[in-house]
């Protein structure tokens, strides 16, 4: 099977995955007890009205009175055309709420991903070249630390030390400042801690993967040959080890890093009060705004589906040894 056919098939599979996930979320939503309906009924009963009639009116208003398949098709069609529903608590379309929140999330995730990737690869390579030295053990410990520390708690502790006690950074995130002057020094200061917290949880995986992958090549015969020919250590590092290491790494990064970043950023935003996607989703959860909860859950889901697609296609493109017969 050719590469082109593989890519086409892989894209089709991503479509299937997305469709299955949407179906599953639809079924889950349909089966779940509707908190809002209960509230409407309770309100009607409390004010002496007819709970039954109120429930019917509610269902009609929300378009819940049609047959199941009709609602399902509506649901799919709306999502596909960008109509992600109406957020009751924010009185705006869900897609608009998400688009307003997104820049705040990107503001600290992008620097965190860049920094943790570059540093992670550098430290991983260093560890591989100096295996079982003190520095390698220190790096390993940092990796364990990064994987293990609950980032929401880490954020709280850092806030306690650097904002409350030392006063180096503001305790409260100033959204207005971030919106008007995104590239100012003051904004960088208030984003420093979130970037650091997110970076520590993301760097661990990169570091360990780089070390493991690079170790495979450090002892490879072609590296020995290069060394015997008198190639400089720097050139061995950049040309003979880093290059083959980057192939599997680039794909691991997309898939695994995404998962870490998505879930970590959710809690980081809550701790630091950044009005990004995570914060939006939490508000929706607390106010039981199901349409918004669904929307903010589907964003990471779609990101993950596309990330996985890019990962597989990237692997097939970059590594000629990959046999895409059965995939």
């Amino acid at each position: 099977m050719g590469l082109k056919r593989y890519i086409v098939r892989r894209i089709a599979w991503a479509g299937v995955v997305a469709a299955v996930m949407l179906t599953v979320t639809f079924v889950l939503l349909d089966l779940a007890p509707d908190a809002q309906l209960a509230r409407v009924q309770f309100q009607a009963a409390a004010s002496g009205g007819n709970a039954e009639a109120a429930a019917e009116a509610y269902a009609q208003r929300r378009g819940l009175d049609g047959p199941l398949w009709e609602r399902y098709l509506d649901y799919l069609g709306n999502l596909a055309t960008g109509d992600w529903g109406w957020s009751d608590t924010r009185s705006q379309p869900v897609s608009e709420a998400i688009l307003t929140a997104l820049p705040y999330s990107l503001m600290y995730t992008v620097p965190a991903v860049l920094a943790s990737t570059l540093l992670g690869i550098a430290i991983g390579l260093y560890s591989a070249f100096n295996q079982y030295t003190k520095t390698d053990y220190a790096a390993t410990f940092v990796a364990f630390f990064g994987i293990s520390i609950p980032n929401f708690w880490f954020g709280i502790v850092l806030l306690l030390v650097f904002a409350v006690h030392l006063g180096w950074v503001p305790v409260l995130f100033d959204a207005e400042l971030a919106r008007t002057h995104p590239f100012s020094l003051a904004n960088a200061r208030q984003l420093a801690l979130p970037v650091f917290v997110l970076g520590t949880s993301a760097i661990a995986g990169t570091m360990r993967y780089t070390r493991a992958e690079a170790l495979e090549y450090v002892r490879a015969t072609f590296v020995k040959t290069a060394r015997a020919k008198g190639v400089s250590e720097r050139r061995i590092l950049t040309r003979h080890v880093l290059r083959p290491t980057l192939v599997p790494l680039s794909t691991i990064l997309v898939g695994d890093l995404l998962g870490v970043i998505l879930s970590a950023s959710y809690l980081v935003e809550i701790v630091f009060g950044i009005p990004g996607l995570g914060r939006l989703s939490l508000d929706a959860i607390q106010r039981q705004d199901t349409a918004l909860v669904l929307g903010t859950t589907l964003v990471p889901v779609f990101v993950a589906v596309i990330g996985n697609l890019l990962q597989d296609v990237g692997y097939a493109l970059l590594d000629p040894r990959i046999d895409y017969g059965d995939r």
């Binding site: 979320t25 293990s148 609950p150 879930s263 889901v301 996985n308």
Partner: protein, 416 residues
């Protein structure tokens, strides 16, 4: 951990070893009478497992049919030390029942290892080299005992506003912060007391007691949900490996899809829709988080089924089911144990995160919930968020160290 064949330690007995004066038994002669005898005789482990299972079922039936909503056990106690006689009531919840079942299954899974001294020594030698992991194992044992046995002995902390904001022992805080300082006030600073070794929350709950109940919640979530996941993953993984063809394709494609859904958001979404109790949370974790382990089991099982001992078992007439049960699963268990150990901290962290944002069980004092409760008082009472967070961090770190060392000890082929 080890093939059940070796478990009894008398594996040789099945070959003709009567060695009488008469004809000498050759090595390859199989003494079928011995094997038949072994089959009918109930091994002590089996018997114990059977008895434990029956006891468990009876106790469970008693709790649900007889005790109903009343506390399961009520014992009148005369406490030594002159305290008034008090009733000791123990209400066993559904999660507790699952937890007991998990511990029973885990305990009996360890029997083959415990009875085989040589194997135990071998793994211990390999494991001992990792000092952090050995320390982690002791720490986790302490946490486990405090959480399970310790919490039975203490009362769940309740509202006690007069004792709010007490600092931990050896620490002090400005006397204006606690409502009323339980300990001595020195130079206008309230000192911590041994009455509340780790301080108290804004509601005057002792943090030590809260942390101990948090240990129980974390252990229950981590262990029960992981066992559920392992059970499903083993079933799916071995089925996929052995059935092959379209069954394999469908199962693994399903795992693909499940793995693509970001796990944390899946937990979050489900907890939002159906959550509220620890039981539901554990079921959500257990039923949706097994994809990674299933992939490991499948790939390992695919390798094992090509091994000679499997071929030998099949050649001597063993059915597929018994080959899988007696030869494949025990030999895959090394990878399962490693994967499970590394799965536990992820679940504990997920539970803490969900509790932190208020989606956990609000009736149970979990670590994440206490961390969230202390967020508002960071400037004045730093210990409320810090103490449970330290326990959470240390527990996750310990499980990660343990899992890493177990991988080295049990699973030398996997190098990461």
């Amino acid at each position: 951990m080890v093939g059940e064949d070796d478990a009894d330690g008398d594996g040789e007995a099945r070959f003709g070893t009567d060695g009488g004066e008469g004809e000498r038994a050759r090595f390859e002669d199989v003494d079928w009478d011995a094997i038949d005898a072994q089959r009918t005789r109930l091994a002590p482990t089996r018997l114990a497992a059977l008895l434990a299972g029956i006891g468990y079922a009876l106790a469970l039936a008693h709790d649900f049919l007889v005790a109903g909503d009343d506390p399961t056990v009520e014992v009148a106690l005369d406490l030594p030390g002159g305290a008034a006689a008090s009733t000791y009531a123990l209400d066993v919840t559904a999660v507790d029942w699952l937890f007991v079942a998990t511990l029973l299954v885990g305990g009996f899974a360890l029997v083959p290892l415990a009875t085989n001294r040589r194997l135990r020594a071998y793994y211990w030698r390999r494991f001992r080299r990792h000092t952090p992991a050995v320390l982690s194992a002791w720490y986790l044992l302490a946490i486990f005992l405090l959480g399970t046995v310790g919490t039975l002995l203490i009362e769940q902390p309740d509202l006690h506003l007069a004792a709010a904001y007490q600092p931990p022992v050896f620490a002090s805080v400005d006397a204006s912060i606690p409502t009323e300082c339980v300990g001595p006030v020195v130079d206008g600073r309230c000192q911590g007391t041994w009455a509340y070794p780790l301080g108290t929350t804004a509601e005057g709950k002792g943090l030590l007691a809260l942390a101990m109940f948090g240990m129980r919640v974390s252990m229950q979530v981590g262990l029960i949900a992981t066992l559920l996941s392992v059970a499903i993953a083993t079933l799916v993984g071995t089925t996929a490996a052995y059935a092959g063809g379209w069954v394999d394709e469908v199962l693994m494609r399903y795992v693909d899809i499940q793995q693509t859904f970001p796990t944390f958001f899946l937990f979050l979404f489900l907890a939002y829709l159906y959550g509220g109790s620890l039981f539901v949370l554990i079921v959500i974790f257990g039923v949706t988080g097994w994809g990674g382990i299933a992939r490991i089991v499948r790939s390992e099982a695919l390798q094992r089924r090509e091994e000679l001992f499997v071929e030998a078992a099949r050649a001597s007439g063993a059915s597929t089911l018994s080959v899988v049960r007696r030869h494949v699963v025990p030999n895959v268990s090394n990878s399962i144990v490693t994967a499970a150990t590394l799965h536990i901290p992820f679940l504990i962290l997920s539970e803490a995160a969900l509790s932190f944002i208020g989606l956990g069980d609000v009736t149970l004092p979990s670590w994440g919930q206490t961390i969230a409760a202390g967020r508002g008082d960071l400037a004045t009472a730093w210990w409320i968020s810090t103490v449970p967070g330290l326990f959470l961090f240390a527990t996750i770190l310990a499980f990660n160290f343990l899992g890493d060392a177990l991988r080295d000890a049990l699973d030398p082929r996997q190098e990461v």
